[in-house]
Structures are given as structure tokens and as C-alpha cells.
């Protein structure tokens, strides 16, 4: 079974895909986007049609080395424009009209015997653990490993008592049990792991989270997935300065992650994937921002990744109620990741998932 650690990077709030991967050659881009269109000279050309925002320049090393895949036009039919609902659709790999309770990674591992490893299968460094939530996985939410271990040590390891059919108590005791089991597995491994070779900026949440993710991977903690997140992408007003800042922070930190995991000899063993609940409307609103839209690109990085552009950029001449029509269903992406990271064949409810061979078999 192929085995790569998936590092999920959630971009919270709905990232403006049109100003991330830019269809610069299409005159409609400037026409429709008006004041918030990125000038041609600031676009980093990827091919004769699309380019990256220049704030993403730190990702160009990865692009040139051929280990950055860019998936274009990812979304799903009947786009839901509620943040909560749409991220739930992504996190649980559901159809727009369907409500599922388990995270997509937990679903992928249903019926699979997961090796006992570190006593933990998924580590969530931010606060949204939905993709990794389900009975098949032992997932912990951990924001600060040192603190976590210190506190876990102080917590008594008592045999867990009966919950008397009380779901709140059952949850409490299950979490306590998880903490104790996970702490035992992680304690020794993290203890002797050196700091990342290239320091992350500690002033951003993403830098701090990736610092921990790097140490977990370098320490060879045998988890299936690690999740981090970055907020602030809900740019309804005057979006250009904040959105550029966000892209800069994202690119700089992903570039550091790549360098660090290469230095630790682990770059071939991970797959990094960004995603967001939706892209944004094609036309800006009157406040110089953009409202909730539909399809958007995803970045996929890793030593085993075959770099390049995947899928088709949605047409700016063929919009649906002013929104991009998705060309790749996100569940096809998940299916390719499940195959490439864990050797699991899953269709996530799609009759025929599209084959996206961004990973060597």
C-alpha cells in the first residue's frame, strides 16, 4: 500500500481563485474583474493562458522543479454559498443536497485496518477536525505539542468508567481516552526531533502550525494526515491589499514547508493540498470586494507529485448566474488523493470519478 502523509491546508472563508491562478490571456478577465483585476505585468506566466499572482512567487521553485500540481476549476454541482454548509460539503465529500456526518478521510478508511502506529491517525493543528472525524480514525486536535504533552502527563490515566448511556459523558470519556493513548505514542518521538532547518515566521498562525506539522513529519510519527488552516479569505470589501497579503503568507510558508521536508528527507513522503469552501463571484461588488462564488483552483505539492496544470480553466464566457462553472469535481480530487496517499480506491459517491494522475502510482 502506497503511504504518504496528507497535509491539508484549509483556506478559510472562500479564496478568490480568479486572483490566485489568473486567466491572464483572456480579455474577459480584465473586463469582468475591473478594478480588482491583477495587471498583466504582475502575473507569473505558467503557460500561454494562465499565470500565478506575483505574491505567490515563492511557489515558483516548486513549479519549476515540477512538484507543484495546480488543479483548475474545482467545485461541485449546485454550489452552496453558505460558508458552513459548503465547507461541510467539502469536509464530508457529500453532494450539495446530501448531509453526511463523517469526514471524507474517515470514510476512506472505513473497514480498513489502520496500523496502530502512534496511537493516533490524524492530527489537526487548527480547530476544524471534520475531514478526519469518524469512528474509523483516532484524531486529535493539538495546537501546541509541548503543552499538549505536558498536560497529558499530568492527567491521570484511570481506566475509563461506564457512561450510563449519557452521550455527553461518553464523548468526554472518549476524548480523555484518546488524549492518553495519543500522548504515549507521541512523547518519545517528538522529544528527540530537531527544529525545522528553516524557521517559520511565528507571527502567523499558518507558520506556527506548519512548524509543528514539520516536526511531526520529521519525527516520523506514523499518521495518515495532518491538517492546518489559514483564515481571512472572506474578502467582501476592499479585497486587494488583504488578499495579496494572504497569498504572500501562504506561498512563503508552503515554500518553507517544502524546503524543510526536503532537508529532513521526507518530501517524497507527503502530499500537501490546499482547498477552500468556494471561490468568489467573477464580478467584484460595489465595496471593492467579492461575494461568495463557486469553482476555484487547488494547489498540490509533494516529492511524488507530477507538476503541471490539471483540468480545464472554467470559461469566462460561459458563466452560470455570474459564476464560474466547475470543470473538476472535488470528489475526484479526493479519490485521486486516497489512491495516491493510501492506496485506497474510493469514489466518494461519484459514479465515475475523473482520473487526475498528479501522483505517480
Amino acid at each position: 500500500m502506497a503511504s504518504r502523509i496528507l497535509i491539508l491546508v484549509e483556506l478559510r472563508g472562500g479564496n478568490d481563485g480568479l486572483n490566485t491562478v489568473i486567466p491572464y490571456a483572456d480579455p474577459k478577465y480584465r473586463e469582468l474583474r475591473g478594478d480588482i483585476a491583477l495587471p498583466r505585468e504582475r502575473t507569473l506566466q505558467l503557460d500561454e493562458r494562465v499565470g500565478l499572482h506575483d505574491k505567490l512567487e515563492p511557489l515558483m521553485d516548486s513549479w519549476k522543479a515540477g512538484d507543484l500540481a495546480i488543479l483548475q476549476g474545482v467545485g461541485y454541482p449546485y454550489q452552496n454559498r453558505s460558508h458552513f454548509r459548503s465547507i461541510e460539503i467539502w469536509d464530508t465529500a457529500s453532494a450539495s443536497s446530501q448531509t453526511l456526518s463523517e469526514g471524507w478521510i474517515a470514510q476512506a478508511f472505513q473497514g480498513v485496518v489502520v496500523p496502530k502506529g502512534a496511537g493516533v491517525d490524524g492530527i489537526v493543528v487548527d480547530t476544524n477536525s471534520v475531514p478526519l472525524t469518524g469512528p474509523s480514525l483516532r484524531t486529535i486536535v493539538m495546537q501546541d505539542a509541548e503543552n499538549f504533552l505536558r498536560q497529558a502527563q499530568a492527567m491521570k490515566t484511570m481506566p475509563d468508567r461506564t457512561d450510563d448511556g449519557n452521550p455527553a459523558l461518553r464523548h468526554l470519556l472518549a476524548v480523555r481516552h484518546e488524549v492518553n493513548a495519543a500522548a504515549v505514542g507521541l512523547r518519545d518521538r517528538l522529544h528527540e526531533t530537531p527544529q525545522p532547518a528553516f524557521a517559520y515566521g511565528q507571527e502567523t498562525g499558518l507558520g506556527r502550525q506548519l512548524d509543528l506539522a514539520t516536526r511531526l513529519v520529521a519525527a516520523r510519527v506514523p499518521v495518515l494526515a495532518i491538517k492546518v488552516a489559514m483564515g481571512g479569505f472572506d474578502t467582501h470589501a476592499n479585497q486587494t491589499p488583504p488578499h495579496e497579503r494572504l497569498l504572500g503568507v501562504l506561498a512563503a510558508n508552503l515554500a518553507l514547508l517544502r524546503k524543510n521536508l526536503m532537508a529532513a528527507g521526507r518530501w517524497d513522503d507527503v502530499l500537501v493540498m490546499t482547498y477552500s469552501e468556494f471561490g468568489r463571484r467573477v464580478r467584484p461588488n460595489a465595496s471593492g470586494g467579492t461575494d461568495h462564488g463557486s469553482a476555484a483552483p487547488q494547489f498540490i505539492l509533494g516529492g511524488g507529485v507530477k507538476g503541471g496544470l490539471y483540468g480545464v480553466y472554467p470559461s469566462l464566457a460561459d458563466l452560470q448566474d455570474g459564476d464560474l462553472k466547475h470543470t473538476v469535481d472535488f470528489r475526484s480530487v479526493f479519490a485521486s488523493v486516497a489512491q495516491g496517499c493510501w492506496g485506497l480506491q474510493r469514489d466518494f459517491g461519484l459514479r465515475q470519478p475523473q482520473r487526475l494522475d498528479f501522483l505517480a502510482a
Binding site: S82, Q143, F148, A152, K156, N166, A168, H171, H236, N285
Partner: protein, 506 residues
């Protein structure tokens, strides 16, 4: 040695009555008893003390509920910070003045006005929650804050959040229809959900969408077209830049015809609200949320429907609804005791209240709540705090235990004694920097370990002189999970109860 087993908890007040100490209360046959009084008070407010529980236990249950819901003060007793009624202009001036004083190269160690006001605002509310004699009102204000969410991080205007809190306080147990009408004119809400940007020329749908999705009908009961129509109806609502108060700008209002939920007219915001109040989903949405907050994490469709009918029949009066909710068989069902997880506010405020901790500076309490995922005036998003089981993750469970352990190990003997006590001695001679760091740590008050000081440990005024059995029955909503030897020493009993997982429940 006091070892409490399940039987004591199952039989509850009956066992207490037999034990002799409380037999006087058991005479009235209709009296509800200690455990039900504790249940009612811990759900309605935060961390009831033995004295508060005893004051209710002899009453019959309906009488106790009526007492809880009797006349309430719609104004906070805690004095608000001086700036709360400053306009938006005044805040901007302070910020500019601040920029000038720091610009000339001198290191001025003052908090920027926005952060400082935010800190003072949180402290003000926490102080009110700790000191109030009507904790149900605070619980309801918190409920409305979590329903009609607005946050400091988006509004950048603490004065507006104070005004919003006053609005929730007015309507805490008042009339929901009046509250729903006031919300679209609330300055914090206008900033938070971009109402100020919602103009006829280009409607901004943010408020309209959340009004339908989260505040009233819920997903699946409206169309995208209804959102667009509602957004148009609310155009023109804005706030005055200088005063920060609501203004209606006629020229920005779309006076045209709209079709909303099947009705057509030249609707303004008030008409939209009226249509929503006529829709059965609105009452259901509120009752579903109250059920989760006060009764159980498991919804009961039939009961929720019944209570929603009570709510609508009363013209959206909140008091009769809460009365019906507290009197419902589900609320009283012993199987629903210890069935809710305490929110961070509940945990921190409740602990301070029940222990009678003197905490003159509330900043550290606010920081604890933030660390546990509930930073007041900063809900994580427009949906508010998800609550329920999501309060407890591996991370927050460890944080909760750590905070409680600190309270037990390093605090709480009595009144201000600790301030001149051990920790001060220990700190002497240490560099100033470290001293500041220690002050920054979340430590409620100073003192000696409850657990290890034996009979020397003195409890605060709320718990002093209370026997070990009553302490356990006050602090825990069910039998303890972990068996701990306490030898019946009150300080050790309190410590064991606070560190038991059952303390996370109510």
C-alpha cells in the same frame, strides 16, 4: 473518609434528608429536593452555591421556576466603561492620537485604544456575570449574543458591541419579535454583516442571507431569490460615521416591489421581519437552539413543536416560553441531568461563583475563556459557537483540566489573604521581567493548595462550613467518574470534585 458511590446520587436529596443535616427541608411533600434545585439553577445560571440551592429546594417546582423568572433588571449593575457611548469618530480620534504619540520614537507602553476597549468590555461583562443576582438574565444575554452574532474583529468598534449587549439585556426575557425588529437597526450588526454596504445600487446580501439561514428560518426554507428580495428591502439602513448610531438613508433604499416568501409588495425591512414572524420555522429555530442550550443535545421534534406553538401563541414572549421549557417533562427527566457540556463561560464563571473566589481583575478570566474557545464578543463566525460536544476536544479538555488544576493547586483559600502570602514571598528577589510574566499567567487568586493543606485550607464564603456530602452534590451533576480519597476534608473534596470529568457536565 468520604467515598460517594452512585447510590447517593441516584437517591439524591432523599439520602441527604436521611443523613440528618437537611431534614428540615424534606418536610414539605411537594418540595423538589436538593438535586432538582441544583439541576434547575445550574442550567438556568452558572455554578449555583449551596445557599442558592437550599433557598429553592423547599419550594414546589413550579413555584421555583416562577421565582427564577420573576421581575428582572434589564440594566447591568456593573458600571460600564466610560467610553461605551462614544461615537465612532471619538474612537478614530483616540487611535490617531495614539499613532502620533508612538510615532515620535518614545516607547509608550499603553494599549492601543481598540484593544484596550475590547479588554475593558469583556471584563465588564464577566464582572456582571460573576456578580449578578440574576444569572438567568446573563445566560439569556449570552444566548442572544450567540444567536445574533457580531464580533469585535469585524466591527472594530467596541462601543457598538456594548450597545448590542444592552439590547440583548432589554430583551433577554422580554419579547423576541421586538428584538428581531431591533436587530437590523443595531449598529454592530450593520457593521458585522455589511448592512452599511447594502445600498439600492448594489445590494449586499450578507445580512439577508444570515437572517434567513441562521437567525430565523434555517436552510432549506427559502430560495436565493428570497435572499435577494430581503437584501433589497433592508437597503438604506446605515450608521452615522460620527455618532455610530443607526440612520436610514432614504436615497440608498430600494423602494421597488419585491417578492419575498411568496408575498409581493414594496417591502422595507420591517415588512420582511413581519413575514418571518408569521412563518412557523422562526419559532422552531429559536426553540431548537434553546433546547440544545438548556435541555439536551438530543432534539425532541414533538416537544420542540409544542414549545414553538407556545412561543407563537404568546406573541413571542420569552418568559412564558422559558417557563414551559423549564416545566417540560424532558427538562425534569433525571436522564437529562449531567447531559450538557459546560461552555467555557459556564465553566469559568460558574467556578468563580461557586468557590466565592475574589477576582478583582477579570482579564485573566477572559483569557481562560478565549483559550477554551469562547472569547466573548468574538464568536468564531456568524454561526456562533457550535457548543455541545464540540466544546470538548483533546486540546480543550487538557486546557480545562489545567485551568482547574491551577485553581486547586495555587489558589482559593480565602478572601485576599493569599495576596500577601506565599507567592509574594516566593517572588521576592526575582527579576522584574519574570514577575510580570507571572502576573500575566491566568491565576485567579493566590493562596495555598486546596488539596494538600488539610484542615488548614479554608474555603471561600460560599462553601465554608458545608459538609462533604453537600459539597459533592453541589459541585457535581452526577456521581464522580474517578474515585479519589478525600478523607472528608472539605478542601480535598472540592479539589477532587473540580478535577473530576463529571465537573465538565451540567
Amino acid at each position: 473518609m468520604v467515598h460517594l458511590d452512585r447510590r447517593v446520587f441516584v437517591t439524591g436529596a432523599a439520602a441527604l434528608a436521611v443523613s440528618g443535616g437537611l431534614s428540615r427541608t424534606a418536610r414539605a411533600t411537594s418540595s423538589m429536593g436538593f438535586d432538582e434545585a441544583r439541576h434547575l439553577l445550574s442550567r438556568a445560571g452558572f455554578g449555583p452555591t449551596p445557599a442558592e440551592i437550599r433557598a429553592l429546594e423547599a419550594l414546589d417546582y413550579a413555584g421555583a421556576v416562577d421565582k427564577l423568572l420573576a421581575a428582572f433588571q434589564p440594566k447591568a449593575a456593573t458600571v460600564a466603561p466610560a467610553w461605551v457611548n462614544d461615537g465612532l469618530g471619538a474612537l478614530r480620534q483616540k487611535q490617531q492620537a495614539m499613532a502620533k504619540t508612538t510615532g515620535d520614537g518614545k516607547a509608550v507602553q499603553v494599549q492601543p485604544p481598540l484593544q484596550e476597549q475590547s479588554r475593558q468590555l469583556r471584563n465588564w461583562w464577566i464582572e456582571e456575570m460573576v456578580a449578578t443576582d440574576q444569572p438567568l438574565v446573563e445566560h439569556m444575554v449570552l444566548f442572544w449574543h450567540n444567536h445574533f452574532t457580531s464580533s469585535l474583529t469585524k466591527t472594530y468598534y467596541p462601543g457598538s458591541l456594548y450597545q448590542q449587549n444592552e439590547m440583548f439585556r432589554q430583551s433577554a426575557l422580554g419579547n423576541f419579535a421586538a428584538l428581531l425588529k431591533a436587530v437590523p437597526r443595531d449598529p454592530a450588526m450593520l457593521l458585522y454583516l455589511d448592512g452599511v454596504r447594502n445600498v439600492a445600487r448594489q445590494p449586499n446580501e450578507n445580512f439577508a442571507r444570515e437572517l434567513l439561514e441562521l437567525f430565523t428560518l434555517g436552510e432549506g426554507h427559502y430560495t436565493e431569490g428570497d435572499i435577494k428580495a430581503a437584501a433589497r428591502a433592508f437597503t438604506g439602513g446605515s450608521i452615522d460615521r460620527a455618532t455610530g448610531q443607526f440612520v436610514f438613508r432614504e436615497q440608498a433604499h430600494d423602494g421597488g416591489e419585491k417578492t419575498f416568501l411568496g408575498q409581493t409588495g414594496r417591502f422595507g425591512g420591517d415588512e420582511i421581519i413581519a413575514i418571518l414572524l408569521n412563518h412557523p420555522r422562526t419559532a422552531e429555530t429559536i426553540v431548537e437552539k434553546l433546547w440544545r442550550e438548556f435541555v439536551s443535545l438530543k432534539p425532541d421534534r414533538v416537544e420542540i413543536g409544542r414549545l414553538a406553538a407556545v412561543f407563537r401563541a404568546s406573541g413571542y414572549e420569552i418568559k412564558p416560553l422559558m417557563r414551559a421549557l423549564f416545566l417540560s417533562p424532558s427538562f425534569r427527566d433525571p436522564a437529562n441531568r449531567a447531559a450538557l457540556i459546560k461552555s467555557p463561560v459556564d465553566l469559568i464563571v460558574g467556578t468563580v461563583r461557586v468557590l466565592g473566589l475574589p477576582v478583582p481583575e477579570k482579564t485573566q478570566l477572559a483569557r481562560m475563556m478565549g483559550g477554551l474557545g469562547q472569547s466573548l464578543f468574538n464568536p468564531p463566525n456568524v454561526k456562533g459557537w457550535a457548543g455541545g460536544e464540540s466544546w470538548i476536544t483533546a486540546y480543550t479538555l487538557l486546557q480545562r483540566q489545567q485551568i482547574l488544576r491551577r485553581i486547586v493547586e495555587a489558589t482559593t483559600v480565602s478572601q485576599m489573604e493569599g495576596m500577601g502570602g506565599r507567592r509574594m514571598d516566593r517572588r521576592q528577589g526575582q527579576p522584574a521581567m519574570e514577575d510580570t510574566q507571572q502576573m500575566m499567567e491566568p491565576r485567579p487568586v493566590e493562596g495555598r493548595s486546596l488539596r494538600n493543606s488539610g484542615s488548614e485550607a479554608r474555603l471561600g464564603p460560599t462553601l465554608i462550613g458545608v459538609d462533604a456530602t453537600t459539597l459533592m452534590l453541589t459541585l457535581l451533576p452526577r456521581a464522580p467518574i474517578d474515585a479519589v480519597e478525600t478523607r472528608g476534608v472539605p478542601g480535598a473534596v472540592v479539589a477532587a470534585a473540580l478535577l473530576d470529568p463529571a465537573y465538565q457536565l451540567k
